[in-house]
Symmetry: C2
DNA sequence: TAACCATGAATTGTCGACAATCTTAAAGAA
DNA sequence: TTCTTTAAGATTGTCGACAATTCATGGTTA
């Protein structure tokens, strides 16, 4: 079944629940990056059998949060500078594409709704000065809307189920809060304008730059983090 | 474990074997596209338990060859025109990126080796006139080398484990053999030249065009196929 | 007739136990 | 000492059975 990263999807089975729980714990760092995973231990902790746990592990592997080796076991993905660059290169290409498609497809009222969302975020931001949660959530929300507007289901799945948890893991564990708030807002605005004008080429370019800026930001933080 | 789509990776476990076997059968159409999958039936057929089979099913889902619904079951992916377009849009973006990175990274001797491979394919092509297998394999080989030359492991995984089996499925089941042989060869050559000159921008552009041409080709075939 | 509800069959999800493999640590040889 | 070998322990892979859910069939009612 397709587990969406953003909207709350229906959780029907026990392995669904374990998957969602573990995903959160890994992204937030409760389960440490790079650490070995013991199946018997985790199965006991979540109160399920190993079969159920392994089902969840398989899905976590699909979204790149853990790595498996046959007859050896699972390990939580390790956050490295190299991987960060790799992931952002892919993200840039895919979200650039999504943005171009959105510019082609998005109807006028959808654009208006997106603009409204952005203004709303700005207001919330002003009120809750310094509070980082809203920024992160707002940013995610903005990107997710554009991704969905691409109307390309395969692309949507690839980004929201495949890449975004890993990206979030870097951001959360690096404690991304930051001075990029207002700048990011301007960039978002420029992207919306390009989409509104159905200028796919420009929208793609702007999105790629926006993501590059985000990468530079997090990368700097990562290097500072590693030198400690 | 990471199952590579091209190079023959070590098969250690029973579910590995089932995964590889089923993958081939799905891609080649022995297991019909869109058909429902019965776990008990297939488990018996492959001579393994359901647990082992389900492990394989999970991996097949990761490379987009089957789709699961909770408490309902699995279904082989259905080949549709819409999905074909979606997949090729993603492929274009990702392989364009790979090609650009390859142009940045590839050493002179690697480029030479790739050129040699291409010439070799041309010769084989001339000898085995009309035989399509070599063309298909040659094309795959060429693309795979460039993908690997990107040196971006995440991208490599995404393409070779994620997208290529699905693309192959379309190509195989549409019976792609065809008049694009010599044209594709010229396009490949132009791409290599751009890479050799470390002109990443051009290499990316040419690769995207090459893939677009390939898409147009298979799409036409698909529409002809569907109208029958 | 058509729509709706039981009931049973079949399928998927989950469990605990066994087999195969890897890891660790101790014992022995160079 | 250091490297190799071996045996015990622990971990993963696989199996068959049970529980929960869905699907198909037939019967009932409007």
């Amino acid at each position: 079944m397709t587990q969406d990263a953003f909207s709350k999807t229906q959780i029907t089975t026990a392995s669904d629940q374990v998957f969602v729980d573990m995903r959160r714990e890994i992204v937030e760092g409760s389960i440490e990056q790079g650490s070995k995973i013991s199946e018997p231990e985790l199965a006991k902790r979540y109160g399920v059998s190993r079969a159920t746990l392994r089902e969840a592990l398989n899905r976590l592997e699909s979204c790149y949060l853990i790595e498996r080796k046959a007859n050896v076991g699972c390990r939580v993905v390790a956050l490295t500078a190299e991987r960060l660059i790799e992931v952002y290169q892919v993200r840039s290409a895919l979200e650039g594409l999504a943005c171009r498609l959105a510019a082609d497809n998005m109807a006028a009222d959808e654009v208006q709704s997106l603009k409204q969302l952005l203004n709303q975020h700005l207001q919330t931001q002003r009120v809750k000065e310094g509070e980082s949660y809203y920024q992160e959530a707002g940013d995610l929300d903005f990107h997710y809307r554009i991704i969905k507007a691409s109307k390309n289901d395969h692309l949507i799945h690839l980004l929201s189920n495949g890449l975004y948890q890993l990206i979030r893991m870097y951001r959360v564990q690096m404690g991304m809060v930051g001075p990029r708030v207002s700048k990011a807002f301007d960039e978002h605005l420029a992207i919306i304008n390009a989409i509104e004008n159905h200028d796919g080429e420009l929208a793609e370019l702007l999105m790629k730059r926006h993501i590059s800026a985000s990468q530079a930001n997090i990368q700097a933080k990562f290097e500072r983090y590693q030198s400690m």
